[in-house]
């Protein structure tokens, strides 16, 4: 067993027809960044030591009491030298990842667009609608510090936001999501098949599908189902559709639609799925979207939502604070607010019955894992592919 748990080399990532062309140095740059991300997860452990050994004692000495909130903790730790250098390195790594990804895709923006166009041409399984507005919460800041977010088009029919996303997931998660970055979708399929062996959904809806990487395993596992994947970002949908075509998955229809106001009929889906979606919405929209989920779901239908781990009451102030680091410093602001909503309350406010609520843990299925024993890794808050899944059967 190696004392180091090394990330897989970048060239292990799966290629498909619309995957951007990458040269030698571009792959090397991503190898550096994946390693740097791993390294910083180790450096991050020093934050806890710094907090316990000097930040907290100093606060208690100055104030004559314990810290009462994450706000107080933030103010105190912000002055700590270890926290400062770790934070600034982590932010810088994320910025470098965006710069590296964009420099790959923007130099070939037109070629990528043309390849996508050729695969999408004449297909009715891609339905774009330019009257669909980008939700205001997505315009407030660029999520995960991706300049231009999911919707900005730099050229006509641009696909670069999705292409950039596709190249970089592997780097941020150090390859833990698998060759196609679809470890979340695969995990949910396994769980559903195991838990409901007789479930054979005819219509499945995926909301906030992005570049479609997590909906494809679902479509593949239920080849007779009609799968509809919606998103508000046209570049994501164009790319997702072309990617699915090239990967030979033809039972998914990609549609530009706002999940808070879809045009689907009442009770028309057997399964409504979302993956890493709700924490990128907003405080009012989240309820509207859940209302839609309830409305379009058939009685006895299943809904599941893969999300970031919840906060628990026994979590220390420090733990809560550090889990919110990405929310505030890697532009995923709603994540820091979504903790205040209990999933069970969110669902019951839309009409789901509390006794039908379920919550499970899920871990990415990683086809890059060769099964060899690896050195233990410190937990990289917010980056580990271990999630909370909540949902219900509609009754």
């Amino acid at each position: 067993m190696s004392v180091r748990n090394l990330p897989p080399v970048y060239n292990k990532i799966a290629q498909h027809a619309v995957f951007p062309k990458m040269n030698h140095d571009e792959r090397a740059r991503y190898n550096f960044l994946a390693n740097l991300n791993k390294h910083l997860a180790h450096v991050s452990q020093g934050n806890k030591t710094a907090f316990e050994n000097r930040v907290e004692p100093k606060f208690e000495q100055e104030h004559g009491r314990k810290m009462a909130s994450t706000e107080e903790l933030k103010e105190a730790i912000s002055k700590d030298a270890h926290y400062q250098v770790w934070s600034s390195l982590r932010r810088s790594t994320m910025e470098m990842r965006q710069q590296a990804g964009r420099s790959i895709v923007l130099r070939q923006a037109e070629e990528l667009r043309d390849k996508v166009r050729a695969l999408n041409e004449g297909k009715d399984s891609l339905v774009l609608d330019d009257s669909v507005e980008v939700p205001p919460y997505l315009l407030a800041c660029d999520n995960h510090i991706m300049p231009g977010s999911y919707h900005t088009e730099l050229i006509e029919d641009d696909v670069t936001p999705a292409a950039n996303y596709d190249t970089g997931l592997f780097v941020t998660t150090a390859g833990l999501l698998g060759r196609y970055s679809d470890g979340g979708g695969k995990a949910i399929v396994s769980w559903v098949k195991k838990t409901y062996p007789d479930f054979s959904p005819k219509r499945i809806l995926d909301i906030g599908c992005g570049m479609g990487h997590n909906v494809l395993p679902i479509a593949k596992a239920f080849p007779d189902a009609e799968v509809i994947a919606i998103d508000t970002g046209a570049p994501m949908l164009r790319y997702a559709h072309a990617r699915a075509m090239d990967l030979g998955i033809t039972n998914v229809k990609f549609m530009q639609m706002d999940a808070a106001k879809t045009t689907f009929e009442d009770e028309s889906f057997d399964w409504v799925q979302s993956t890493m979606f709700f924490h990128e919405t907003g405080g009012k929209s989240i309820y509207k979207i859940m209302d839609e989920v309830y409305r379009v779901l058939k009685p006895k239908g299943l809904t599941l939502h893969i999300e970031q781990p919840q906060y628990t009451d026994d979590m220390s102030l420090f733990e809560k604070f550090i889990r919110d680091w990405d929310a505030l410093n890697n532009n995923e602001p709603y994540w820091s607010k979504m903790h205040d909503i209990e999933p069970i309350e969110l669902m019951s406010s839309s009409g789901f019955r509390e006794e039908d609520f379920m919550q499970i843990g899920a871990k990415a299925e990683n086809d890059l894992d060769d099964g060899s024993e690896k050195a233990d890794e410190p937990e990289d808050h917010g980056r580990s592919p271990i999630w909370n899944v909540f949902g219900a059967i509609k009754n």
Binding site: V9, L36, R91, Q99
Partner: protein, 120 residues
């Protein structure tokens, strides 16, 4: 190729949302970011050299096209490459590690040690 857009400038665009600064002096943040970008480019260069060396060793002669498409060919080569990155990062971020070790195991100052030794 991207004639219509200035991909070099666009690649380095700022994302919407105020950038957090973590050091008391923004100049420290600025220099650190430039340093890390250079660190990254050195890593890229090292990986390229690695490809060249391995190809030279293998063939005695190499072409640019071969370098462009070279990827590690064995599990061992993959591990060697990733180990290089891990080593390199450990080297350049030495001070951060040392400060973390100091946190875990606080040391006395040389003045204090001198005083201690004076009594030994």
């Amino acid at each position: 190729m991207g004639e219509k857009i200035d991909y070099i400038k666009l690649a380095s665009n700022k994302p919407k949302g105020k950038r957090p600064y973590f050091h008391d002096d923004p100049a420290v943040e600025r220099v650190l970011n430039i340093t890390m970008a250079i660190a990254g480019e050195l890593a890229v260069m090292r990986e390229r050299m690695d490809s060249i060396e391995r190809l030279l060793e293998k063939k005695g002669s190499i072409s640019r096209e071969e370098i462009e498409t070279f990827v590690p060919e064995t599990k061992e080569q993959e591990e060697q490459r990733q180990t290089w990155h891990a080593e390199y990062i450990g080297r350049i971020l030495r001070i951060v590690q040392q400060e973390q070790e100091e946190l875990e195991n606080p040391d006395k100052s040389m003045e204090e040690i001198a005083n201690d030794i004076n009594e030994m």
